[in-house]
C-alpha cells in the first residue's frame, strides 16, 4: 500500500499495489479475485473506492537487500527515452551507476515499472521507483549521492538517453499477501 507523502496534490489518497513474481502468478490472483473475491471487494469499496486499476511490469535495476521492505519510502520519477537511446546503452549506464551506488554505500533499491494496461496516455515510457528503508535513510542516501558526485554522474550517464521528471514520494506499508 502506498500513501502520498511528497505530492503536487493530484495523487489519489491511497494506492493499493500488488506485486507478483511472474505474470502467471498475477493472472492466477486476478482470476481468483474475480471469481471469489466479491465479498472482500465490497468491503474494500466501502473503505477505499477506486477510480483506476492498471497493470505494469516491474524490472529490477538494483536491490542489495535480501528481504522485501515492510515499510519504507518510494521516490517515483516519470521517464521517457530520448532519440538514439537503446536498451544496451541503458544497461551500460545502469551498471556504472550501480557500481557508484555500491561504492558510496547507498542502500536504495531501484526498479523500473513499464506501463502495460490501463495506464494514462501521458507519453511516459516508464516509471523509475527508488525505494528507501525509511525517511531517514532516504535523507542519508540523498546526502551520499550529492556529496559523492552522484548528480554529475547521473547527468553524464543518463542525459544522453532519457529524460526523467521527479514525481511524488509515497510511504509504503506491506500489508501481506505473500508467504
Amino acid at each position: 500500500m502506498l500513501t502520498p507523502f511528497f505530492s503536487d496534490g493530484s495523487d489519489a489518497g491511497v494506492y493499493w499495489v500488488g506485486f507478483s513474481d511472474s505474470f502467471s502468478d498475477q493472472g492466477i490472483v486476478l482470476e481468483e479475485w474475480l471469481e471469489k473475491g466479491g465479498d472482500l471487494q465490497k468491503e474494500f469499496d466501502s473503505v477505499i473506492p477506486c477510480n483506476s486499476h492498471s497493470q505494469l511490469a516491474w524490472v529490477r535495476v538494483r536491490d542489495v537487500a535480501e528481504a522485501p521492505l515492510s515499510t519504507g519510502v518510494v521516490d517515483f520519477a516519470g521517464c521517457s527515452w530520448l532519440p538514439g537511446a537503446t536498451q544496451e546503452k541503458m544497461a551500460a549506464a545502469d551498471a556504472d551507476m550501480n557500481k557508484f551506488l555500491d561504492q558510496v554505500g547507498i542502500t536504495a533499491r531501484v526498479y523500473r515499472w513499464y506501463p502495460m494496461q490501463g495506464n494514462p496516455a501521458d507519453g511516459l515510457d516508464f516509471y523509475q521507483a527508488r525505494w528507501h528503508d525509511s525517511l531517514a535513510v532516504k535523507g542519508s542516501d540523498n546526502d551520499l549521492y550529492v556529496r559523492n558526485g552522484g548528480v554529475q554522474l547521473e547527468n553524464k550517464l543518463y542525459d544522453p538517453i532519457m529524460k526523467c521528471f521527479g514525481g511524488p514520494s509515497a510511504l509504503y506499508t506491506a500489508v501481506g499477501g505473500s508467504e
Binding site: T3, V14, G18, F23, D25, S52, W58, E179
Partner: protein, 74 residues
C-alpha cells in the same frame, strides 16, 4: 499497448544480454514481474485503520490462494 509491451520486452532482452555477459555465460533471467495498481480515495469517515482491517482479511485470502495454486512460493 503494443508499444509498451515492446518496450518491456526490449528492456528484458537488454538486461539479459548484460547479465549474460556479466555472469560468464551462465543464463540469468533478469528479475521481473507484474504490478497492479488501484488508485483509490478514502470513503468519507474512513481512515487507514479501517483499511488495515480489510487488508488483514485480504492477507488471509491471498495466502490461501498462494498455498493452493502457487505452492512453489510456500
Amino acid at each position: 499497448m503494443v508499444k509498451s509491451a515492446l518496450q518491456f520486452s526490449l528492456a528484458i532482452s537488454a538486461l539479459m544480454a548484460t547479465q549474460l555477459s556479466q555472469a560468464d555465460n551462465h543464463a540469468a533471467m533478469p528479475a521481473y514481474g507484474g504490478v497492479e495498481v488501484y488508485a483509490c480515495d478514502f470513503a468519507e469517515g474512513k481512515d487507514i485503520d479501517d483499511l488495515m482491517k480489510v487488508a488483514k482479511k485480504w492477507d488471509k485470502w491471498a495466502k490461501k490462494i498462494i498455498q493452493r495454486r502457487m505452492p512453489v512460493m510456500c
